[in-house]
């Protein structure tokens, strides 16, 4: 074996070491150690002459080991490895002793420090005996780069690298790049507009062929090492197809929910679908959906026209009644009508019903409609006619009106032909006043007329060719089913027998009807209930409803039946009339027979069957037949085809009749049905007519399934929300009802409506609750609620972290009153005020809209303060001066700057300070003690009083002002810890990321291949941030330019002669570097050198000692330990 010849060099480091350690003594001592050929001490070993000394000794004294005792190896180990390498030795035949950071700087006793230095050098000498030459490996570096953070730092770094034609992946967590700088108004000291200098860069980033922007994305996982990082990025679902979105902003405008805009620092609102700011890149909408809504919005699916119930309920909850009405209006042509007479399948479906009680959806809709009318705003703006083709609507019932409403809003000229004297159809003449006041109906209809629909009353249409001859291109028939059906029993035609619809029509048109004192109403539908209740109101004492099935089978709205009974109407269930009894004066009674429920028929409905011999008689003066209606073919034009049931025959999809261009919907097609069903077919026909006229394929979006909650979902809701009963709307006392036709159901008061709307489960989540309003208004069809997060896997060779800063939360300093006093603002909030595109359009205004007469600017809020952050935030003095200048310029108010020291160190900064000083700004040197609204003297009343020490005057002062701006500290991001873990970064005690060397390596980190730039490293201004970003880009480009990386040589190695192949190493390794393989019939461990990081865990668990870590072998460390304990 070669003789070991060691050279030892003790560095003075000026007086840094030599001041405490007797270096001469140490060198003398070291010379006595085994195999030490030369031992020297020198002033600066790291200097060129110092290094030359080593190289010369290697050459002339044939050294084959070198020890330098100086500063930390983290500082200069690499330097001296290179020195010995250039001297002709393997760089690993070198050992470094740390006698500065860990000796001379931490001990002041010269003797103790010298002894310790001797120990450390001795240990190094004993260790270096065992050092072996190691091979340094080079592997190729992936030239792709990952940049984290799309603020000015990340953008600048990305552009620099991409301009060098290297691929950059830029990951930004927010929906748009731009970062903090995009929020700034003007930049100091030049006062140029931040946006004007930033947006061209944003645009460059967005369009650069070498930059792949991953906005609204976050890094999930980073593995690998320099040259070969594997990164998983989560592309968060925007619920918007970015390829289709055109950035028009319609979705945001129509979104019924609002939240504080992050970009505007909460001073303005944004929708749940939103584009953060007009210049956003990418300029696409994002839907802020944070959690699944707890219910399944079955209300919406159950509604035949899929009304956005959750949307308007949520707006009512927030007191935004006008907007609630608008949301209702967007789908429903007759809000006030539906708010009263709709049978509300939504309420039946409402999943809150499974929990306690369903939401009173109909009442909420009615409230919104009535509130609008009450406020006198329910007037429509005429729609511009954009289409040529005229459409004729025959019949002005709900189907016809709905069809007209949707067509006119699409720009068609629409005329409604009504045979009667007034529009409304069955709504007007079939529904009694106490359920639907005529005034309400007229209001809904006049709204439709205001939009531009012409209604021609007293104009029956008998001939379709005449209509087409007049130039109409399409016709919709919505003439209803107005003919009363007959029972076909004896005596049915006797005087005193009315048919319900004729009866209701007469009453509705003010014809006097005498019903005597006893009336039987035959039937169980809404017409029967209406007729019975009207009869009571006409003064009939004794009203009996005769229905052939039981209560549960009654088709009328249950609440109506209930109210009818409250009004004193009797019901004879399971009874059917067989004969109307009459004498020459009129009806005397009605003979009925008892029924019982038989077996279910083909439709599954049980049919009533008569009980033999159970006939009985009810004595009455009049009978009202309400057993159903049918289509009156006599009122319809000729040439139409009918079904076997006597209704119009139409194509089930297009609703077109047998005549080209003629469509039909409502009761004339379905037979007698409900209002909302008629509206739904009217709306569907409008779609169909549009497709027909445009020659397009008809596409109608069908609703989803009405889903119930599962047991688990219900259990979760019960756990999360308290049970609360429905708010009951007031009702007219039953005694008062029978004297008048006054409306029975009362409308909610605003408070009641809000209280009830709060019960909607969907609106209890934060963020989007998927009401679908955006989807409805998006013309590009870009909204996609099915979207899910995507995981993108990237391979890059180097990474730049530029994640920026958070603004210090000033409310943690209670004495400054932030969030307690409306006119105490933070710097970023004030930036938004002076910005021309901001919430006040660039005007500096107090919360009440007045301009301030005086403003205080408080420096060092949370900075330079032992209680919060000890560091200086570096930008506050300058932006404080900028604010002072802007306040002078824009509001001409008195300005007071409360400062500790003015730090104006950059280019043009001091000059700007001088300029602002000359503008009449009051500078007060002193830290503000508190901000209060408690006035002591009259001048302070209504003001905010800034209480501070004036250290130049040496006394306490009180300054009353209108507005206070807090220069809040810049602090490390709240999730900096997670980011540090992800990228293997270190943090300083203040939370910012640690650079490799504070002076000499400011953008590198202890992890090779990962760099930092901008405010994530420490607070700094824009010029410094940009410079750092460019520095990081240069670092990365130099790596790419070299093209290879040097891998760690100090990794695991296996002595196969003693390895048993037990596999303990394989189990313990986090990086899967060791694998047990079969070699020449023996099991041995084999190390994948590309994966090994050199952590040494395998060597600790190896039972035979077969695995060692190069450069950290047991021989080396044991020699070092033995030498240290020897003294």
């Amino acid at each position: 074996m070669e003789e070991i010849r060691i050279g030892v060099y003790i560095c003075h480091c000026g007086l840094n070491i030599a001041g405490t350690v007797n270096v001469e003594d140490v060198a003398k001592y070291t010379a006595t150690l085994p195999n030490v050929v030369v031992s020297r001490h020198y002033r600066y070993m790291c200097s060129d002459p110092g290094q030359d000394l080593i190289r010369s000794d290697i050459k002339h004294l044939a050294l084959n080991r070198v020890v330098v005792a100086s500063c930390s190896p983290r500082m200069h180990e690499l330097t001296f490895r290179k020195t010995v390498e250039s001297g002709g030795l393997n760089p690993y035949l070198y050992e470094h002793a740390n006698i500065r950071e860990q000796c001379s700087w931490v001990h002041d006793d010269r003797k103790l420090a010298t002894n310790k230095a001797k120990d450390l050098v001795r240990a190094a000498v004993m260790r270096v005996h065992h050092h072996e030459p190691l091979v340094i490996r080079e592997v190729p570096l992936n030239p792709n780069v990952l940049v984290i953070g799309g603020g000015i730092a990340g953008m600048q770094a990305s552009l620099d690298i991409a301009n060098g034609q290297k691929k950059v992946y830029l990951v930004e967590r927010e929906p748009s790049i731009g970062g903090r700088m995009a929020q700034l108004d003007r930049t100091f000291p030049t006062l140029d507009c931040a946006e004007c200098i930033l947006t061209p860069k944003m645009s460059d980033v967005g369009h650069h062929p070498f930059i792949e922007l991953l906005a609204y994305s976050e890094v999930e996982e980073v593995s690998g090492s320099i040259g070969d990082f594997k990164v998983k990025v989560r592309k968060k679902a925007r619920y918007v197809d970015v390829d289709k979105c055109v950035g028009c902003g319609d979705c945001e405008e129509k979104c019924p929910r609002r939240t504080g805009s992050e970009y505007e620092m909460g001073l303005a609102e944004r929708g749940m679908a939103y584009i953060p700011f007009p210049q956003a890149i990418p300029n696409v909408a994002t839907i802020d959906r944070r959690e699944e809504r707890p219910c399944k919005a079955a209300c919406k699916e159950a509604c035949p026209i899929h009304m956005n119930v959750l949307g308007y309920a949520s707006l009512i909850k927030e007191g935004r009644f006008e907007e609630a009405y608008e949301v209702i209006r967007r789908t429903n042509p007759l809000p006030a009508v539906c708010g009263r007479v709709c049978y509300a399948p939504c309420q039946e479906a409402c999943n809150r019903g499974q929990f306690d009680e369903h939401i009173a959806i109909r009442e909420l809709k009615r409230f919104a409609a009535d509130q609008e009318l009450k406020m006198g705003k329910g007037k429509a703006v005429p729609v511009e006619r954009t289409k040529e083709e005229q459409v004729a609507i025959v019949g002005s019932g709900p189907a016809g009106l709905a069809c007209a409403y949707d067509l006119v809003r699409q720009g068609y000229p629409v005329t409604v032909f009504e045979s009667g004297p007034e529009a409304g159809g069955l709504l007007r003449w079939g529904i009694p006043e106490y359920r639907l006041p005529k005034k309400m109906l007229s209001n809904d209809i006049s709204y439709i007329q205001d939009l531009g629909v012409e209604i021609k009353t007293n104009t029956p249409v008998k001939n379709l060719s005449e209509i087409f001859d007049q130039g109409y291109k399409a016709v919709f028939l919505g003439t209803g089913a107005g003919m009363s059906q007959r029972m076909g029993i004896p005596g049915e035609n006797a005087p005193g027998v009315f048919h319900a619809l004729d009866f209701l029509k007469q009453v509705n048109f003010g014809v006097e009807v005498d019903l005597g004192s006893k009336v039987a109403v035959i039937g169980g539908g809404n017409a029967a209930v209406d007729a019975a209740r009207v009869a009571r109101r006409l003064g009939v004492e004794d009203v009996t409803v005769v229905y052939r099935r039981g209560r549960d089978e009654m088709p009328a709205i249950p609440s109506e039946i209930e109210e009818m009974e409250h009004e004193g109407v009797k019901i004879e269930f399971l009874a059917a009339p067989v004969k109307v009894l009459s004498d020459n004066k009129g009806v005397t009674g009605i003979q009925c027979i008892r029924m019982e429920m038989g077996e279910p028929d083909a439709s599954g409905r049980r049919r009533p069957v008569p009980v033999k011999g159970s006939e009985f008689t009810i004595e009455v003066d009049h009978v009202i037949m309400a057993i159903g209606q049918s289509v009156d073919k006599a009122v319809l034009p000729e040439g139409l085809a009918y079904t076997d049931w006597g209704t119009l025959s139409v194509d089930p999809v297009t609703l077109q009749t047998n005549i080209d261009g003629v469509f039909a919907g409502g009761d004339v097609v379905s037979g007698p049905a409900d209002v909302i069903g008629a509206i739904a077919t009217g709306k569907r026909a409008a779609c169909s007519i549009n497709a027909y006229l445009r020659g397009e394929e008809l596409s109608i979006e069908e609703g989803g399934k009405v889903e119930k909650l599962s047991e688990e979902e219900l259990a979760r809701i019960k756990q999360r929300f308290a049970s609360r009963k429905r708010v009951r709307a007031g009702k007219l006392e039953p005694e008062k009802r029978i004297d008048s036709f006054e409306e029975v159901e009362q409308t909610y008061s605003p408070d009641e409506a809000q209280e009830e709307a709060e019960r909607c489960l969907a609106s209890m989540v934060e963020g989007c609750f998927e009401c679908g309003e955006c989807k409805q208004v998006c013309e590009a069809k870009a909204i996609d609620f099915e979207q899910t997060d995507q995981i993108v896997e990237l391979e890059v060779g180097s990474i730049i972290v530029a994640t920026g800063y958070d603004q210090f939360d000033s409310s943690v300093i209670p004495q400054y009153g932030y969030k307690r006093y409306a006119n105490v603002l933070t710097g970023l909030e004030f930036e938004r005020l002076t910005c021309a595109a901001g919430p006040t359009e660039g005007k500096i205004l107090l919360k009440d809209g007045r301009p301030p007469e005086s403003v205080a600017i408080v420096h060092c809020v949370g900075s330079r303060d032992q209680n919060y952050h000890e560091y200086c935030s570096r930008v506050c003095c300058m932006y404080g001066l900028k604010y002072a200048h802007l306040i002078k310029e824009l509001a001409n108010a008195e300005v007071y700057e409360f400062y500790i020291d003015m730090r104006c160190f950059g280019e043009g900064y001091e000059e700007f300070y001088k300029r602002v000083s000359e503008e009449g700004v009051n500078f007060i040197r002193g830290k503000v003690a508190k901000i209060t609204d408690e006035a002591v003297i009259d001048e302070e009343k209504g003001k905010l009083i800034v209480v501070s020490e004036d250290t130049l005057l040496g006394k306490m002062i009180r300054v009353p002002v209108d507005m206070v701006i807090l220069c809040s500290a810049l602090e490390a991001r709240s999730d900096a810890e997670n980011v540090a873990r992800l990228f293997n970064l270190n943090r300083r005690a203040d939370g910012f990321f640690l650079e490799r060397h504070v002076k000499l390596d400011p953008v590198a980190t202890p992890t090779d291949g990962i760099f930092i730039a901008g405010c994530c490293e420490a607070p700094r201004d824009i010029p410094d941030t940009v410079a750092q970003a460019e520095a990081a880009a240069a670092k990365v480009l130099s790596l790419i330019s070299k093209g290879t990386v040097t891998l760690e040589a100090a990794i695991s190695t296996v002595d196969e002669a003693i390895c048993h192949g037990c596999g303990r190493c394989e189990e313990v390794c986090t990086f899967s570097a060791p694998k047990v393989i079969s070699k020449d019939g023996n099991l041995v461990s084999s190390i994948n050198e590309a994966l090994c990081k050199g952590c040494g865990a395998c060597a600790v668990v190896c039972p035979t000692g077969a695995i060692t870590i190069r450069h950290f072998t047991p021989d080396e460390i044991l020699a070092q330990v033995a030498a240290l304990t020897e003294a």
Partner: protein
């Protein structure tokens, strides 16, 4: 036992505690000169043999210090270190060495002050405990 100066060997991980000790130095935070640091790449690299060697050589106390659980350069080195320390404690017990002679700490890069404090505490504690019984026995044998 007046004037007894305990001897401490500290195994410090390159990424956190060794850097913390450097930071104590750059910040000129003073602590007793009784400690000698051995740099290891990871606290999980510390083989119990190294610690036994230190005690055999006459150390009165040993410190094993590295990253916090979440900061590890090698992801889970501290966990592996803890497992080794558990075993080590049993061995030390057999050898008649008190528990306080082995200290396990997690000290991050920014905690120079913590490093200095830990050394001060150890020195005070070991001064009370007196010289390592192993050292006393070995000296008696010699």
């Amino acid at each position: 036992m007046a004037g007894f100066e305990p001897q401490i060997i500290a195994f410090c991980c390159n990424w956190c505690t060794y850097a913390a000790a450097d930071l104590a130095g750059t910040s000129r935070v003073q602590y007793p000169a009784n400690v000698r640091i051995v740099r290891v790449m990871c606290s999980g690299m510390v083989n119990p043999i190294y610690v036994l060697k230190a005690f055999e050589g006459g150390a009165d106390g040993v410190l094993i210090a590295g990253c916090h659980l979440t900061d590890c350069h090698y992801i889970d080195g501290p966990v592996k270190c803890d497992a080794a320390v558990d075993k080590l404690r049993k061995m030390l017990h057999v050898l008649g060495l008190e528990d306080e002679r082995l200290r396990r700490e997690m000290i991050s890069t920014s905690e120079g002050v913590v490093f200095a404090r830990v050394i001060k505490e150890m020195v005070e504690q070991l001064k009370k405990s007196g010289p390592s019984p192993l050292k006393v026995k070995m000296e008696a044998l010699a």
